[in-house]
């Protein structure tokens, strides 16, 4: 029920473009089309429904979305990574799938964009690392991504509700509302967010995005993993889960029969920086 499908996406896009612009300006005249890709054909924003429920900032208001009977829904989405099942090939496939599906550009240097990436145990779990660890776990590269925290500080600090938590727990971004203040990046204790320092389209090989059906971003906005809301809306699992060969599980944390909950019942699992109380919804099965 909650998916932001393409139509919705464009509608919200146009809506926020209209809000964000507020008329022609000197900049607009100097750089035509620089403001937003999705201008034009905009209904009066004051007439259209607001995209979120004012009582619960960030939750999509019911009735705003076009229902799709095949859509995957949950009370609260969660993910588990089965560290025993990962191989180098799986990890590479997972990262590649995500980058391709979401047009994540490969930007050299430290102004790069990362949705899901590989890091060592010490970096993923700086508070759990110790000198005399199980060698196998210690040497294992871990995949990290946005944890879709149940108590997300990024949502708390965003001054425009461009980062919001959907009713199904997914922490989402409205790229057309984000002002690029990067407060959310300071607030995220997991380094899960990336900022488009430059126009990401410049970095696609031969200048074309790998996946024309997924929107590319503009410079000046923040982005991150979305748990593939666009795929859930079509009834598909997240791209990473699909290519992980069973190493990644995805399901409803509120449903005791879901694959994630079943795995968590029998396997020891850790979460990143549990002590900060953000309640990450990505679990690592050791």
């Amino acid at each position: 029920m909650m998916g932001v499908n393409r139509r919705d996406f464009l509608r919200i896009a146009g809506l926020t473009a209209a809000i964000g612009m507020g008329g022609k300006t000197a900049f607009d005249l100097l750089w035509p089309g620089q403001l937003d890709a999705a201008e034009g054909g905009v209904e009066g924003w004051w007439k259209s429904k607001t995209p979120e429920n004012p009582l619960f900032p960030g939750d999509m208001a019911p009735g705003n979305e076009v229902p799709n009977p095949a859509e995957l829904t949950a009370k609260r989405w969660g993910m588990a990574l089965d560290m025993r099942k990962f191989t180098a090939a799986t990890r590479a496939a997972v990262v590649k799938a995500c980058n391709q599906v979401h047009n994540v550009p490969a930007i050299p240097g430290n102004q790069n964009i990362k949705w899901i990436w590989e890091t060592s145990f010490e970096h993923a779990f700086p508070d759990l690392a110790q000198e005399y660890m199980d060698n196998e776990v210690h040497d294992l590269p871990f995949l990290v991504l946005c944890n879709h925290c149940d108590n997300p500080p990024c949502v708390r600090v965003c001054p425009t509700k461009a980062t919001f938590r959907r009713a199904d727990g997914i922490v989402m971004m409205d790229m057309h509302r984000c002002i690029g203040c990067r407060f959310c990046m300071a607030a995220c204790p997991f380094g899960s967010r990336s900022f488009n320092f430059a126009d990401p389209r410049k970095f696609f090989p031969d200048g074309k995005e790998p996946n024309p059906t997924y929107p590319t971003r503009t410079k000046g906005v923040v982005e991150k993993c979305t748990f593939c809301t666009e795929r859930l809306a079509k009834g598909e699992l997240p791209a990473c889960v699909e290519v992980s060969g069973g190493a990644m599980l995805f399901g409803d944390m509120a449903d005791s029969g879901s694959p994630v909950r079943q795995a968590l019942r029998t396997r020891y699992a850790i979460r990143r920086k549990n002590e900060l109380g953000t309640a990450p919804q990505v679990y690592y099965l050791i």
Partner: protein, 387 residues
């Protein structure tokens, strides 16, 4: 009254033209940033705020410090501040103007700035920062302007400014407290996650702001024969002495808690700033030590009443105070907070040339605002004294 700023000696105009040139250069650099994106800055995925936000933080303090004049003058009727209070209020206006500009040049999508008002989000501290900063700007504009206008007509300040003046006192404290809350409420940023942040911000601000004001007052005296008064400068120097001592004391409190508890998530940032981390020397290390040296030297110079009454010692002392507090907020705050990053990796930050040009441009706007306001105020005051 503003027409007073339109008449001046060649020296005045040369200064204005100089500022306009710097503003022009800064604006040019900003146009590059606007087209290319923030990629032209030294910021990165790990250090996502840089020079702009650091200057913003420092200047919020300068703005807030006007309360150190307003409070004694209006609340305690401390007459010695009669001539200098307006300089403090106008300095606050110029500082807040720069703050707002620094926020704007830092935004990735500045054209969407109004989203903050169109989607008011009370759970975001940035929203409250916007509210208190704009409020403070208007309070000072109204109060300062009304007081000056009344003075020209040789009347006491209008009655309606009284409540505004009283309001401006807690309001000044609020702008720097809220700015500290921007940082102090973030989980996982050990350097900022401390309740001493707001008091330390205020203490360093009450040292930095009056230090700037003394420099300005001495400069103004030299250039225009407008004398803020010996007693006013002496009282300000006293305030600075207390404030800089408090600032270093609060810093020591922070260092003690962090170092004695030795919790890595907090300690690593201080280690990085002052010693480097994991054998990686930090690029700000010399500056951080310089700030400490300046701080302690300034205390030594200021604490002896005889010395601080001597302008030949006072001036270098307040310059040292300025350097100490500016490095603390303008450099250490950001580098210390973001390095190491949440994954405990080290990505260092240094501003680029274009970033510095934009920064100077914003400072020049502030200087221009200040020049025009001071010119007006001093002309009015001197005219009054001549007749």
């Amino acid at each position: 009254m503003l027409e007073k700023a339109l008449k001046g000696e060649p020296r005045y105009w040369a200064w204005v033209v100089f500022l306009l040139v710097v503003i022009g250069a800064g604006f040019g650099a900003y146009l590059v940033q606007y087209t290319e994106g923030l990629t032209i800055t030294g910021m990165s995925r790990d250090v996502t705020w840089g020079f702009y936000i650091a200057q913003f933080t420092f200047l919020v303090g300068v703005a807030a410090s006007a309360v150190m004049l307003v409070l004694p003058y209006y609340l305690h009727h401390y007459k010695a501040f009669g001539r200098i209070t307006i300089l403090g209020e106008f300095l606050a206006i110029s500082a807040v103007t720069m703050c707002l500009l620094f926020i704007i040049v830092d935004l990735g999508r500045p054209m969407r700035l109004m989203n903050v008002l169109l989607h008011p989000t009370p759970n975001s501290i940035l929203f409250w920062d916007m509210v208190v900063l704009n409020g403070y700007l208007f309070i000072n504009l109204f109060v300062g302007w009304a007081a000056l206008g009344a003075e020209r007509k040789e009347l006491p300040p209008p009655k309606w400014t009284k409540p505004l003046i009283y309001l401006s006192i807690p309001w000044a404290v609020s702008i720097h407290t809220v700015t500290a809350f921007l940082y102090a409420g973030l989980p996982g940023r050990g350097f900022w996650l401390t309740a001493i942040m707001a008091p330390r911000f205020l203490a360093s601000a009450f040292a930095a702001g009056p230090a700037v004001l003394i420099m300005l007052a001495l400069l103004v005296k030299k250039l225009t024969k407008f004398d803020a008064g010996k007693e006013a400068i002496e009282s300000l120097a006293k305030i600075i002495t207390y404030a800089i001592i408090l600032h270093l004391f609060f810093f020591f409190l922070e260092v003690f808690t962090v170092a004695y508890s030795a919790i890595p998530g907090h300690l690593s940032h201080l280690q990085y700033l002052y010693f480097g981390l994991h054998g990686h020397p930090s690029n700000v290390m010399p500056l951080m030590w310089l700030a400490l040296c300046c701080g302690f030297t300034s205390i030594a110079l200021l604490i002896v009443p005889k010395w601080r009454q001597n302008h030949k010692i006072l001036l270098p002392a307040v310059i040292l105070v300025f350097i100490c507090t500016w490095i603390d907020k303008g450099i250490g705050m950001i580098s210390g907070g973001f390095v190491p990053n949440p994954l405990h990796e080290i990505t260092e930050y240094a501003p680029t040339g274009l970033e510095l040009m934009i920064t100077f441009g914003v400072y020049a706007v502030g200087a221009l605002v200040l020049t025009i306001l001071y010119k007006t105020a001093i002309t009015v005051k001197q005219y009054k004294e001549l007749t």
